[in-house]
Amino acid sequence: MAPPPAMPVADAMRPALPDGDSQANRDLLRVMEKPSLGYFGLLGITLLAMHVAGALWALMVYLGLGVAGYTHPIFWGAYIVTFVFWVGIAHAGTLISAILFLFRAKWRNAINRGAEAMTVFAVLTAAQFLGIHVGRMWKSYFILPYPNQRGLWVNFKSPLMWDTFAISTYATISIVFFYIGLVPDLAIARDRATGWRKVLYTALALGWQGTSRQWKSHSRSVLHLSGLATPLVLSVHSVVSWDFAMSIVPGWHATIFAPYFVAGAIFSGFAMVLTVMIPVRRIYGLERYITDYHFENMARFILLTSLIVGYAYAIEYFVAWYSAVEPEQTSFWLRAFGPYWISTWTMIICNAVIPQLLWFKKIRTHIPSLFVISTFVNIGMWFERYVIIISGLSREYDPAVWGVYTPTWVELAIVAGSFGFFATLFLIFLKLFPVIAISEIKELEIHAKAHGAGAGS
């Protein structure tokens, strides 16, 4: 693939070595140069969405959770749906960085940094929804293992408690993972930056010089963190699924939930990586680093996990029928033909049907199609959580307590604001840190140069 044309280098990023510097440095640091007008426009939109949501959240705190559509019998609404959605999105980064690292899949190098950043931002977004959901956000610390006034401790037998530990561990470990991977690249930026950036990168790079001692402990740390993060990825969404599966609500009480949720999380995570990285690659001309081959591999992952998710949808219906438990059967019948049929069929079509197009290589390598399919997957996965949570709660055992929930405009605006929050963080990240792991790209390039193999894959 032809390298992108050379562009003038902005003052903030004037390279110390105009001629001798490596191409990877020049290409990838260029992304961090002075933002364009379009960038500020987009940032304005995302900031607006975020601030509208913040104001509405304040209104909700003032007026109470009544402004959300919470009403008997449904007290887990759009906020919990969105929480599960963002936790799912957060699964791609660690999967790519940890599991594909352990499998020595070299193609991960082009996308791991962007995906790791998305992981961190998605977990931060998700965590806020727990606070938003409880309404009195300032009481959120009740979930921490801290004795209240009467010396009463938290209940460790509750899956919500496990969730606290799983999510906070996941947030911490993904931040550590993200930062450790970033250190060598921060040194690259430090050596070439001027002004406030120089100070920032000098501080964050920790005096990194790429000595053999530093690299050796760095490689070891990444290896051990990958070993730790691999079971962690699988555990986090399993624990989230147990928030539901450990209850006796029809439609929730299923042993398949943990693998089903993990597959769904990887599915949505990869879709989000595609949705974000396709425009990034195009806008910043990164075709030399993120090739169609990378996107095709991600499409394969999406296809595989789509099959698992589709299988789970089918087996849920089979189990409901085979169990001969009437509430279970009714719940599933009403999913497809009850008040939530639109959500259910949106979920099935977006998640199980549309991704089947990826069987065709022509579509897997056609970037606009990939973008469209990944967007459908994102929509479908939000609806999946909506279907599971809302339709489950709306039709429990006793028809006398059946009810219908519709999200209010306040809830929907706060949900939209979460996308604004996520996008704002990502846009800032684009300008502050290299969006592709430069040193890992160099590892491949130097290796390829020395051994005469093809670069970049």
Binding site: L17, G151, K157, W162, L206, Q209, L228
Partner: protein
């Protein structure tokens, strides 16, 4: 004592040159590399990295903390929940598992900082021999040697494809 800096374009010659120099008794050496290469990992220090000890201790500490925390808290104010014993090991395994990962991961970070000696140097300063080219795509090998060995080290570096050799600080 003077230091010589050889600049290379690939990791293997650096590893070969450093090994040769080490066998000849030069012990004060430093390698600068733009990326991680396995061939360079064990050249200057053959012992396995001690980061693994940190990970292990962190993980063990995590699993012990997880079970201790849950069992102690459940027995400190005993409330019967769901007819389960106060010390329900299978249930608390979830917490113990998460804390194993959390403590193990944080200990790995500490291990990286301690074993890798980070943060390194004083703020905004780098080694005299270090330059931005080593965060480009070149490799550096710094050898400290006595005045009479300079010519020998210089020749050895050049025979291993060093594209330039210079005196550090000269």
């Amino acid at each position: 004592m003077p230091s010589l800096l050889g600049v290379f374009e690939a990791p293997e010659p650096v590893a070969d040159a450093a090994t040769r120099l080490k066998n000849r008794g030069f012990s004060e050496m430093e390698i600068y590399s733009p990326a991680a290469f396995e061939v360079l990992d064990d050249v200057l220090d053959e012992k396995p990295s001690r980061v693994r000890i940190y990970t292990l201790i962190g993980g063990l500490l995590g699993v012990v903390t997880g079970y201790t925390l849950t069992i102690w808290m459940a027995n400190d104010w005993p409330i019967m929940i769901g007819g389960k014993p106060f010390s329900s090991i299978p249930i608390y395994t979830v917490i113990a598992f998460e804390l194993t990962i959390l403590f193990g991961g944080l200990a790995t970070l500490i291990g990286l900082l301690v074993v890798g000696k980070l943060p390194y140097g004083s703020f905004g300063k780098t080694d005299e021999a270090y330059s931005a080219r080593f965060s480009g795509e070149e490799f550096g090998l710094v050898v400290e040697c006595s005045d009479r060995d300079v010519a020998e080290v210089d020749a050895l570096l050049r025979s291993h494809d060093a594209k330039e050799v210079s005196l550090v600080g000269a």
